[in-house]
């Protein structure tokens, strides 16, 4: 990847300190986000995909803690910023939207004012000017009748409109990076398609990089440029989207793709990955996928594989690809 990197996460470790022991929710994750691209982060519940970016945003709360690694935003280390400095970055240079827009909006304020607040907080503009900016962004995210919607309360809007408001709020300060955590999971398919198209357009027009956290391989295939597949706190495979789907390498990614029912074929039975996601407190000693992997050998149970590079920009955490050399 030769493009300029806006966000770089290097060997991030976030642990939860619970009564039962230390839980490695994020276990040495490295992610690079080039300018103006859409990066997909996929994995099942509990794989650490959300926690990675909660750590980036400084939103991890007790008992969670970042215990190692560095986060660079535009070349600047933001890992150890004080809360006050961090709040200048958050919402301004990097912003985040969540799955359920109803719970992320304040129910007792009109949505327009909530978006305006983001502008007033970060930029020296008059309230009138800020309102104009809000109306502009409402138009940009496809909210009809923005003047009327400005004074609507969250409960008066549909799920799709609320998510548009959230995206507007996240984009209004023209951040370098927007993190979208399952932004379409709570929406219907026809609305999901609209929101995905909107995010693609904003990415293209405003040059904002988007990190799309999702469990849906379809969403990834549809909009992402580059994909990271996570499992039990680690990146298992990373590649450009086309390479990932054409030359799927890690047994976990292969299993994941095969277990999705396809629209264009009638299967008698679905492929399944046996077993369940391991408890992070009692991870296997070797590869974290070894207990469910059909191709696991003796070595997989005792040693941890590194990320190996199978082709330019395609990394796989599996011993089967060891001869290819370590991913850098």
């Amino acid at each position: 990847m030769s493009e300029s990197i806006v966000l770089e996460i290097r060997d991030l470790r976030s642990h939860f300190f619970t009564a039962k022991g230390q839980v490695p929710a994020v276990d040495g994750v490295s992610i690079q986000v080039p300018a103006g691209k859409i990066i997909g982060i996929v994995g099942e519940s509990g794989c650490g995909k959300s926690m990675t970016f909660m750590s980036v945003m400084g939103l991890l709360r007790y008992p969670g803690k970042v215990v190692g690694g560095t986060i660079f935003l535009d070349g600047r280390d933001i890992t150890h910023l004080k809360p006050k400095e961090l709040s200048k970055v958050r919402g301004n240079e990097i912003s985040m939207i969540f799955q359920e827009p109803m719970t992320s909006l304040n129910p007792v304020y009109p949505v327009g004012k909530q978006v305006r607040e983001a502008i007033l907080l970060h930029q020296k503009v008059s309230k009138k000017e800020a309102r104009e900016r809000v109306l502009d962004i409402f138009r940009a995210v496809g909210i009809s009748e923005p003047e009327k919607r400005y004074y609507s309360y969250p409960h008066q809007l549909s799920g799709g409109l609320r998510q548009r408001v959230m995206i507007g709020m996240a984009m209004v300060c023209r951040p370098k990076v927007m993190i979208a955590d399952e932004p379409t999971t709570a929406l219907d398919v026809t609305i999901e398609a609209q929101i995905l198209r909107l995010m693609q357009r904003l990415c293209r027009e405003q040059g904002t990089s988007i990190i799309l956290i999702t469990h849906n391989m379809g969403v990834v295939a549809e909009v992402c440029d580059y994909v990271y597949v996570m499992y039990a706190g680690k990146v298992m495979e990373q590649a450009e989207t086309f390479a990932l789907f054409e030359r799927t390498s890690h047994p976990y990614t292969q299993g994941l793709l095969r277990s999705i029912p396809k629209l264009d074929e009638k299967a008698k039975r679905l492929y399944t990955i046996e077993g369940v996601v391991p408890n992070l407190l009692h991870l296997p000693k070797g590869c974290s996928f070894c207990t469910r992997c059909g191709q696991a050998r003796e070595r997989c149970f005792s040693e941890r594989p590194k990320l190996y590079e199978t082709e330019d920009g395609h990394g796989v955490r599996c011993f089967a690809y060891e001869r290819e050399g370590v991913f850098v």
């Binding site: 799920g159 609305i191 609209q194 029912p261 396809k262 369940v276």
Partner: protein, 360 residues
């Protein structure tokens, strides 16, 4: 009314013809037991002009109602999986619940094996109720946290008169085996299980009384992909073993494609299109079906370049549904008649479509 009856009769005939054709194909393809195919043609349950409305405030003079289900006619055949698909608020869950009288219909009839169960007395209905079960979406909310697995699965058995403790334990353990829950979990509580295992417990409870019909209300929506495929396979296995009939409610069209024999697409309380799964996916006749199919993100980046036609706008309110065809506000092909007159069901082969200007 008589006009409506005629139409229904036709629908039934058309459906039966198709079932025969499909039955033959299946026998050739997979060597399915001919008797099962024979059974499959029988209507297990059919709904006639079913209406469900919920009060939604308003004034006494001018009360408002949510039109959740409006004039639905539907047959479910013995041994098939009929999927009910549509976006949130289209009335698919309400319809599922009305069909087994978990909710009382506002109007209409439901015939189960030839008997009208609407308005049937509680004592009479109890005999049929054990033949109809339901599996819910959220395995976290549908199991009582204070009951152990043996109590959850055993409860319907006790309710329907199993008194002997030894017999009960044996039956519960057998059911646990059926759904793939290890025997040592007999005394455990729901919080000790993962989402997929909890859904298996819910399935064991549903099949405990040897039901004929199971309403599966989004049974895999809350599960991760790798667990989802395990549960879907389990549902298919159980259907084969016990000859179960499923009404499978889902918003996920890829899952429906895998599990369903026939699909019924709903929009805002009304049926848009009913037909055989493969042909409906291949050539949707109702514009809404086509938009739904188009909108699904496909797990193949090569398909992305194809410029997709997307639906604009949002789902209208079920309190004040649009006049005429309820889809006309979002439909690019709508004309005057669509705004004025609700489309009648018309048959196209085995397919029934409710549209003035069907595609294709």
């Amino acid at each position: 009314m008589s006009d409506g009856m005629m139409k229904d009769k036709k629908a039934e005939d058309g459906g039966q013809e198709k079932k025969m054709g499909e039955g033959r194909a299946q026998t050739e393809k997979m060597g399915v037991d001919a008797r099962r195919v024979e059974e499959k043609r029988q209507v297990l349950l059919h709904a006639r002009n079913l209406v469900k409305e919920f009060p939604a405030g308003g004034t006494r003079k001018n009360p408002q109602v949510v039109h959740a289900v409006t004039n639905v006619n539907l047959e479910i055949y013995q041994g098939e999986t009929l999927a009910l698909v549509g976006e949130s608020g289209c009335g698919k869950s309400t319809l599922g619940r009305v069909l087994i009288r978990l909710l009382e219909p506002t109007a209409g009839e439901i015939h189960y094996e030839g008997e009208n169960i609407v308005g049937m007395g509680e004592a009479d209905f109890a005999r049929l109720r054990r033949q109809m079960q339901i599996i819910f979406q959220d395995p976290y909310a549908s199991l009582n946290p204070r009951m152990s697995v043996k109590e959850i699965i055993g409860e319907p058995l006790i309710t329907y008169g199993m008194k002997d403790k030894g017999e009960l334990e044996a039956k519960v353990r057998e059911l646990m085996g059926e759904v793939g829950i290890a025997q040592e979990f007999y005394n455990r509580y729901p919080h000790q299980f993962s989402g997929g295992q909890r859904q298996r417990i819910g399935i064991a409870r549903a099949i405990a009384l040897n039901p004929k019909l199971i309403i599966c209300d989004e049974p895999v929506s809350a599960l991760d992909v790798s667990i989802q495929s395990q549960v879907l396979n389990l549902l298919k296995d159980l259907q084969e073993r016990y000859g179960l009939t499923y009404l499978f409610i889902s918003h996920d069209l890829s899952v429906v494609k895998f599990i369903a024999d026939r699909v019924c697409v709903m929009f805002l309380g009304m049926i848009c299109e009913i037909g055989d799964t493969d042909s409906l996916y291949e050539q949707p006749l109702h514009p809404y079906t086509r938009f739904l199919l188009n909108a699904i993100p496909k797990a193949d980046p090569k398909l992305r370049s194809q410029e997709k036609e997307l639906l604009t706008g949002e789902i209208p309110s079920p309190v004040n549904p649009p006049s005429g065809c309820r889809f006309h506000t979002r439909c690019p092909y709508a004309e005057d008649i669509c705004r004025q007159k609700a489309p009648e069901g018309r048959m196209a082969g085995e397919r029934q479509v409710f549209c003035h200007f069907p595609l294709g």
